[in-house]
C-alpha cells in the first residue's frame, strides 16, 4: 500500500516483487496483475486496480 494512488511501472513491480533487474520476454506482470484483478476487483462493483496504458498500474479507490 506504500504506493497507493501512484502509478507504478512493470519494471518497478518486477524489481520490487522478484528483485529482478532485467526484462523478461514474457509479460509476467500482466499475467500477475490480471490474476490479482480477478481476486480483488471482479467480485466487487468498485474497481481498485487500474491500468495506465503504456506506463503501468495504479491502486486507486
Amino acid at each position: 500500500m506504500r504506493n497507493a494512488g501512484k502509478v507504478v511501472s512493470k519494471t518497478m513491480i518486477l524489481s520490487h516483487v522478484w528483485e529482478y533487474n532485467f526484462d523478461p520476454q514474457t509479460n509476467i506482470v500482466d499475467v500477475l496483475v490480471s490474476r490479482l484483478r480477478e481476486k480483488i476487483d471482479r467480485p466487487f462493483e468498485k474497481k481498485l486496480l487500474h491500468t495506465v496504458r503504456g506506463v503501468g498500474y495504479v491502486l486507486r479507490p
Partner: protein, 430 residues
C-alpha cells in the same frame, strides 16, 4: 598510392638484402682464400729465389777463397754463359773497392733479390737475382685472382637473388593476397599452398585459417546487423505511424492519450530488444562484469520458477522442479537467474495448455547441470543448430510474441561463465 607502391616494393628490397648478405659472405670467404693463396705463392717464389742465390753465393765464395777475384770471375763467366738466367755478382774488397763481375744489361739494381756473404778477410761477395720475372708472374696471378673474385661475386649475387626469390615466392603471394583483401575488403580470397609442407606453407595455412575465422565472424556480424536493422524497423515504423495518425486526426485528448500509450508500449519493446542485444554482446565479448560467488543452483531455479509460476498456471502448463539441494556453482547470481528465467520463459511460452515443463538441477561430475524440458512441439533438426543464434526464430515460433534473443542470451551468459549449452529435441506431432 604511395603506400601501395611501398608494399609492393618491400619484399623486393627484402630479397635484395638477403641476396647481398649471401653474396657478401660468399665474397668475404673467397677473398680470404684468394689472399692466402697469393701470399703463399709470393712467399714460396721468394724463398726459391733466395735458395738459388744462396747456393750460388756459397759456390762463388768458395771460388774466391780458392783464387781471388780472377778465379771467381772465370767461374762466373763460365757459368753465366750456360745459365738460362744471368745473375748479378760483385765483390767488395774490405769496403774499399767494388768489382762488379756480372751486371746483365738493363737490370735495375733496385729490382734485385740479393744475398751477401762476408768472408774471413772482410771481403763481401754479393749475388743478386732479378725479381722481374717473379713480379710479372705474380702480377698475372693477381689479375687472374681479381677476375675470379669478380666472377665469384657475380655468381654469389645471382645465386643469392635466385635463391631468395624462390624462397620469398610464398611470402610474396601471401603479401599479394593480403593486399588484395585490404584493397577489395573481400575476405574470401585464399593464398594457394605450394604443397612443400615447410614453415612457409604452415604460415600460409595459418593465414588461411585466420581468414576463414575472420570471414565467419564478419558474416555472422553482418547477418546480426541485418537482422537487428530489420527487427528495429518494424516497431519504429509502427511508432511513427501511430504518432502520425494522432497528429493527422482531429485534436482530442483521449486520442492523444491512446496514441502516446501505444508509443510508450512500442518503445518499451524496442528497449527490451536493445537491452537484450547489449547484454548478449557484452557477455560474448567478455565485457560483462560478473560478480562471482558461490551460488546454490536450487535457489536460482526456485526464484526463476517463482517468476513464471503464475504465467504457467494461467496457461495451464505444469511447472515441475526437481533440484538437488547441494549443487553449487561459482557464478554471478543475477546473470544465472536471468539465464534460467529465459530458459523457463522459452519452455512455458512454447508449451501448449495441458503440457508440462520440467526443470532439473543435478551435479554431473565436476560440473553442474541445469536442464529444462518441455512437452512443446519440439524443434526440427535443421533449426536446432541455429536456435542460439541472435534473432533467429523457428518457423513454428513465429505465432508467439518474442524477439529471438532469449536463448542467445542464455548461451552468452553460460559461455561467459565458462559453461556450455546444448539442445536436444524430438519434434512432436504438433
Amino acid at each position: 598510392m604511395s603506400s601501395d607502391l611501398e608494399k609492393g616494393v618491400r619484399p623486393l628490397f627484402f630479397g635484395l638484402r638477403i641476396a647481398l648478405w649471401y653474396a657478401t659472405l660468399f665474397v668475404v670467404g673467397s677473398t680470404a682464400i684468394v689472399f692466402l693463396t697469393y701470399y703463399l705463392t709470393a712467399t714460396s717464389l721468394a724463398q726459391r729465389d733466395q735458395q738459388i742465390i744462396r747456393g750460388k753465393l756459397g759456390d762463388y765464395a768458395a771460388a774466391y777463397q780458392r783464387g781471388g777475384v780472377r778465379v771467381l770471375a772465370a767461374t762466373v763467366r763460365a757459368e753465366q754463359q750456360a745459365a738460362p738466367e744471368r745473375l748479378f755478382v760483385r765483390v767488395v774488397d774490405r769496403g774499399v773497392e767494388a768489382v762488379v763481375l756480372s751486371n746483365p744489361e738493363g737490370w735495375d739494381p733496385s729490382k734485385l733479390e740479393i744475398a751477401s756473404a762476408t768472408l774471413a778477410d772482410g771481403t763481401l761477395v754479393q749475388v743478386g737475382k732479378s725479381t722481374e720475372l717473379r713480379d710479372e708472374l705474380l702480377a698475372r696471378f693477381r689479375a687472374a685472382l681479381g677476375l675470379v673474385t669478380l666472377l665469384v661475386f657475380a655468381i654469389a649475387l645471382t645465386g643469392g637473388w635466385l635463391a631468395t626469390q624462390s624462397a620469398l615466392g610464398p611470402i610474396r603471394r601471401l603479401s599479394f593476397a593480403v593486399q588484395r583483401i585490404i584493397r577489395t575488403g573481400r575476405t574470401d580470397a585464399r593464398v594457394p599452398l605450394d604443397g612443400s609442407g615447410d614453415a612457409l606453407d604452415e604460415l600460409t595455412e595459418l593465414f588461411n585459417a585466420m581468414l576463414d575465422k575472420i570471414e565467419g565472424l564478419v558474416t555472422a556480424m553482418r547477418g546480426a546487423l541485418d537482422n537487428v536493422s530489420h527487427d528495429l524497423r518494424t516497431p519504429l515504423t509502427r511508432l511513427r505511424g501511430t504518432a502520425e495518425m494522432a497528429l493527422a486526426g482531429p485534436a482530442a485528448l483521449d486520442r492523444y492519450r491512446e496514441a502516446l500509450a501505444d508509443c510508450v508500449e512500442e518503445t518499451d519493446r524496442v528497449l527490451v530488444m536493445l537491452n537484450a542485444l547489449m547484454d548478449i554482446s557484452e557477455a560474448e565479448s567478455g565485457a560483462m562484469p560478473l560478480r562471482r560467488e558461490r551460488v546454490r543452483l536450487a535457489d536460482v531455479v526456485e526464484r526463476a520458477v517463482d517468476l513464471y509460476r503464475d504465467v504457467a498456471d494461467a496457461k495451464g502448463v505444469r511447472l515441475v522442479v526437481e533440484a538437488s539441494e547441494d549443487v553449487e556453482a561459482t557464478a554471478d547470481r543475477t546473470r544465472l537467474e536471468q539465464a534460467a528465467a529465459n530458459l523457463i520463459d522459452n519452455a512455458v511460452k512454447y508449451t501448449p495448455p495441458g503440457g508440462r515443463v520440467d526443470v532439473e538441477v543435478r551435479g554431473a561430475g565436476n560440473a553442474a547441470l541445469l536442464r529444462v524440458r518441455d512437452t512443446g512441439p519440439g524443434i526440427p533438426p535443421d533449426e536446432r543448430p541455429r536456435i542460439f543464434d541472435r534473432l533467429f526464430r523457428g518457423d513454428r515460433s513465429r505465432a508467439e510474441r518474442g524477439l529471438g534473443l532469449g536463448l542467445s542470451l542464455v548461451k552468452a551468459i553460460v559461455e561467459a561463465h565458462g559453461g556450455t549449452v546444448a539442445v536436444d529435441s524430438e519434434p512432436g506431432a504438433m
